[in-house]
């Protein structure tokens, strides 16, 4: 019967696309009526329905072998607003549904109304904001109109910002305000770009604009300016290095369930729009120089984010900086798009999915560890491996995907990027990917080497996590880890609805020898060396008493790195860098084009 229902639903075609937009809005509105202790269960039921809807859409796209279209109210663009789900959107919808369901199960406990109270603001705020984020990001994935996408992005930001400040401490309020103001700067730049597009072409529909841009012999100067403004505005929301001033305090200060959503999903919404702009709207405008500017920023993000992560003493801050580094991988794909856009897109989408699952698992694992220990100081994690074996295991498995060890999704991403980089002669990308993996391995093993040894804690833990929470964290980590084992045909789903690429089969060609023994060994042995080094350093540290604070050399590279990070996260510096970046992108497009 279920199969028949599934088939009936798939026959709905384009109308299906309304479901992922309706469910969160229904949740938002009904949450005000449901309230109280049942709200968490209600939201969970909606999230389950959402997962089913996303699965049906993905199945419909895969079996129909074409994108689903829907025009709201039957009005065709340019006056109406179109929705479209190609393979890429379908995969993103599915990932969002899976991660949000995981977060929903995890948050049942933390955001439940305590017995005896009719309702709490914290619980109502969390579940409504979660629905807001869900609706915003689904609209980002489906919208085909630059202005609709603007509204969707704002919905996403406005739901994400209060999540940061849910506990009302002054640090988190300040972090939320910084996040909001910088994101607003980004969105106003995006809007300015959209306005320039409208002024030039008289429409905001992506498909119509793409035809107009592709058909033009010479582009009016407003187009590169608009493209640069929109891209940089979105970069501010995606927090690509060096525009990361708000990310570490916001992601590290939020409650764990909220951090997971912010890090795994919210920053990917704006990245998805960057993909739409550069791969759908104006693929021809992505000159090699412009692509290399984005790629260089991504490379800097990987190295800088990982190095700063190594310096952190708090687990959640470490994970937040690791997000900064992982966002860098998303931008390495732009220089590769010159060789083959399908390889670039596949690597980008895989990285989004793998990072979403892994990072959600890691933030929630860190939340469980912190709740059990009462703090998240990395140097005092001793014994948590005994107290919370499943959680520490999940943290480690998620980390394996970030390093890029087989069989994780991260391994496929690294294999694709490395192979494509070598093919297109961009060796620096290959080196950055390898170095990034090793740095990630260093801090992951450092955390694990603190957490795993040691006896079970003598003091009773502050809060015993529920088994369901531990299991859902482990399940998300396993999703990231086993992503690499998906058959290649699953990767083909990403290609559906895109213009037939001349280089079809490029992805499978690059991935063909990913599973040979020497490839696997080649990805493994450097990580093993790093693990041995970390253990050696840790052993030495235990033997020698730690140096008292303040006696170390004032010019140590680590301290310089901290200072650089501090400098980059000053408002005036980040704001000026933003403007410089706009100018640089315009310049590269005008000169390169």
């Amino acid at each position: 019967m279920l199969a028949a229902l599934f088939a009936d639903l798939m026959d709905l075609g384009g109308l299906l696309l309304v479901i992922p937009l309706m469910l969160p809005v229904v949740g938002l509105l009904l949450a005000l009526l449901v309230r109280g202790r049942t709200l968490g269960r209600f939201a969970l039921a909606l999230l389950l329905l959402g997962l089913a809807a996303a699965a049906v859409i993905a199945a419909a796209v895969a079996t129909g072998d074409q994108a689903l279209h829907y025009q709201l109210g039957g009005w065709a663009p340019p006056l109406g607003v179109a929705l479209k789900a190609d393979g890429l959107s379908a995969v993103m919808l599915l990932t969002t549904a899976v991660v949000l369901l995981g977060v929903g199960i995890y948050a049942q406990r933390g955001f439940q109304v305590p017995a005896g109270l009719p309702e709490t603001r914290r619980s109502l705020a969390f579940w409504t904001l979660l629905c807001g984020i869900w609706g915003g990001i689904n609209t980002v994935f489906l919208g085909q109109d630059l202005f609709t996408l603007f509204v969707a992005l704002e919905l996403l930001t406005f739901s994400a910002v209060p999540l940061v400040a849910l506990d009302g401490r002054s640090e988190t309020l300040a972090a939320a305000l910084r996040y909001l103001l910088f994101a607003l700067l980004g969105s106003v730049l995006y809007l300015l770009g959209a306005v320039l597009f409208y002024g030039t072409y008289g429409t905001l529909d992506i498909a119509l604009l793409a035809d107009l841009i592709a058909g033009a012999d010479t582009l009016p100067p407003a187009v590169p300016v608009a493209a640069a403004l929109m891209t940089v505005g979105l970069l501010a929301k995606t927090t690509l290095f060096p525009l990361h001033l708000w990310l570490p305090p916001a992601h590290a200060g939020a409650p764990p369930a909220a951090s997971a959503v912010l890090s795994a999903l919210v920053v990917k919404g704006s990245f998805f729009l960057i993909l739409r702009i550069w791969f759908d709207l104006m693929p021809a405008l992505l000159t090699l120089t412009a692509a290399q500017v984005l790629g260089a920023l991504g490379a800097a993000a990987i190295l800088f984010g990982n190095l700063v992560a190594l310096r952190q003493t708090r687990l959640k801050l470490l994970i937040a900086y690791s997000t900064l580094a992982q966002i860098g991988y998303l931008f390495l794909i732009f220089p590769l798009a010159a060789g083959s856009s399908s390889v670039a897109l596949t690597a980008g989408a895989l990285q989004v999915v793998a990072h979403a699952c892994a990072k959600a698992a890691m933030f929630m694992a860190a939340g469980l560890i912190a709740a059990s220990l009462g703090h998240d100081q990395i140097r005092e994690l001793r014994g948590s491996g005994r107290t919370l074996p499943l959680t520490v295991l999940a943290f480690g498995l998620g980390g394996l995907s970030l390093i890029g060890l087989p069989p994780s999704g991260g391994y496929l991403v690294k294999t694709l990027i490395s192979a494509a980089a070598v093919d297109t002669g961009q060796w620096w990308l290959y080196l950055v990917v390898q170095a990034g993996g090793l740095l990630t391995a260093a801090y992951l093993f450092f955390v694990l080497s603190q957490a795993v040894p040691g006896p079970r804690q003598p003091t009773p833990p502050h809060e015993r996590p529920r088994l369901a929470q531990q299991l859902i964290v482990l399940a998300l980590a396993l999703c990231a880890l086993l992503l690499g084992l998906l058959p290649l045909s699953a990767v083909d789903l990403l290609e559906i609805g895109r213009p037939a690429a001349a280089d079809s089969g490029a992805v499978s060609a690059l991935l063909a020898d990913a599973w040979t023994l020497d490839k696997l060994w080649a990805s493994l042995w450097p990580v093993l060396i790093v693990a041995a080094l970390v253990l050696a350093v840790r052993y030495r540290q235990q033997r020698k008493p730690p140096r008292p604070e303040g006696t170390s050399a004032t010019l140590s590279p680590g301290r310089a790195l901290d200072q650089l990070d501090h400098l980059l996260r000053q408002w005036p510096v980040a704001g000026l860098l933003l403007l410089v970046l706009v100018a640089a992108l315009v310049q590269t497009m005008l000169v390169g084009g």
Binding site: L79, G168, E171, D562
Partner: protein, 120 residues
């Protein structure tokens, strides 16, 4: 100077002033106001574009003077900007209540002692 050029220049000036304020002014309230300046500039530019025509209706050859679509978009944009301002001001009020400060500078204390000192 034609009307469109004048309004276009006004829009550019508003955006420029707003950018300056948002980037250089340390006070959070000033940043919020500066964001509203940029927003006004962008909406004014959109209005200029509507006045100039060249939108959907002109392309369709209706001979309509001006283009109504940007007005609908500007109204939506105003609502969004209003919501953004409301959230930002609420956060700022709460921040002022909890920690008695109104700037965003230096909220990354380099050493934990200084942040404790400020909170007490």
């Amino acid at each position: 100077m034609s009307g469109t050029t004048l309004f276009g220049l006004c829009a550019a000036a508003l955006v420029g002033l707003g950018l300056y304020g948002l980037i250089c002014q340390p006070g959070a309230l000033r940043k919020i106001l500066a964001f509203n300046l940029i927003g006004s500039g962008v909406f004014l530019l959109f209005g200029v574009i509507a006045q100039r025509g060249g939108g959907v209706l002109a392309l369709a050859g209706t001979g309509a003077d001006g283009d109504p679509v940007p007005q609908a978009l500007v109204i939506t944009g105003l609502v969004v900007a209003f919501a953004a301002t409301a959230i930002a001001v609420t956060l700022l009020v709460r921040l002022a209540e909890t920690s008695a400060r109104g700037t965003l500078e230096g909220d990354e204390p380099p050493a934990p002692e200084s942040s404790d000192a400020r909170r007490t």
